[in-house]
Symmetry: C2
Subunit: 211 residues, 2 copies
DNA sequence: CACAGATCGAACCGTTCGGTACCATCTGTG
DNA sequence: CACAGATGGTACCGAACGGTTCGATCTGTG
């Protein structure tokens, strides 16, 4: 039965729903962990529809990763913005948001990093390139915080913080248990060490005991 | 032609060579990036030989990951031991060793972490479990340094350092360019911040300018 | 010399993969 | 009402996958 009776024909909506469902399934199962056939039956769509919208599985994956990178980047930037103007508060907010994400039962690591690892070579490097851009955007956020905090070398501090973010995300997936606040505490320590003059009024706050 | 003429029959050596070649190929191409058939022809061995030694592709992968974890763990511990008794010097040595590894042209990330990501589920979780044990061993090394440095909470500092190590390894693979010394500087900063009394004679050393 | 064990090469099996083609059936538009 | 476009369902394709089996041929041992 083609075009289930009563369904509104709306290619844009079809594509959006396809993208959302594929995002979830590919994240949970891995890029090679689910085939196009099962993907289509799980989503409730025919292969022809999928291929008309995305051209190939690579195209679908590319669209999924792009959309996810956009969403996650905006989400983290929003978390930082909601924390007000203080750079240290923004950094705390970023790591706390990451911590809540890591604690979700469906968490399986960063979809972009996982994709880049799974499709390290081949597939014309779509996943690698998208993940690299994703990290660029994350670095931009952290470097901005470092700059506003008055760090003498915002780029260097940004990269230190990025390493912490990435490490925390990978560990939350692959290493069991342990205190989830460690990366946040480390980030605050690095920020304070790099910016001797930052937020003096909060200098006495004991970061490590807030867990 | 069976058993190439003149070849000494030595199952142990065959297995060792098999393991070494498979380690390299599976690392470069990914666990799903190369099939058993191509694996065998590239190594120069028949499928029957491979299956007699390892039982299945999963068994081969498991053996490869175990051996790699052992080797890498010993290598890093050796780098730390060669740096003498000072914990800060040991930590520097560890991150410098990691930096040299990351700079190698064949570097493609940590084989254990890559494997755990590629075989996140399925395959009876062999890769995940092996990677978790690998991280345990790395954590043990870092926690030991933290403890000997006099950190009030060696476990917490160890986890902070582990996040840095993991983040640095992933970034070196997936993010282009940038200063490779950032993670090392961050590690030293964290160590000094956590241990107010550590190596006072080296306190004046400017870590950030050594790059 | 005889026999056991190790190895190669190749054929083979069932399954799954990404991708294509075709057709019936629905919606939306004029 | 007529027609174009979107969709579902199904069958199909060639290739690759992990794994098994068999026979020929070598080494090592007694």
């Amino acid at each position: 039965m083609p075009v289930t009776k009563g369904t509104a024909i709306d290619p844009a909506r079809t594509r959006a729903g396809l993208l959302a469902a594929a995002t979830d399934l590919l994240y949970r199962r891995g890029l090679d962990g689910i085939g196009v056939a099962e993907l289509c039956t799980s989503i409730g769509v025919s292969k022809e529809t999928l291929y008309r919208h995305f051209g190939s599985k690579d195209g679908l994956v590319e669209a999924v990763l792009q959309a996810r990178s956009d969403r996650v980047t905006a989400w983290l930037a929003g978390a930082a913005a909601d924390a007000g103007d203080d750079p240290e508060a923004q950094l705390t907010a970023v790591f706390d948001a990451l911590g809540r994400w890591h604690a979700e039962p469906t968490f399986r690591g960063c979809a972009l990093l996982n994709a880049a690892t799974q499709w390290h070579d081949g597939h014309e490097g779509t996943a690698r390139a998208t993940a690299a851009r994703h990290l660029d955007r994350r670095l931009e956020l952290l470097t901005g915080i470092a700059r506003r905090a008055g760090a003498p070398d915002p780029a260097a501090l940004g990269r230190q913080l990025l390493a912490l973010v990435v490490g925390a995300t990978v560990l939350a997936d692959l290493h069991p248990g342990a205190a989830p606040s460690a990366p946040r505490d480390a980030a605050i320590t690095l920020l304070r060490a790099a910016c001797p003059t930052v937020s003096n009024d909060q200098r006495s706050t004991d970061v490590t005991s807030s867990e």
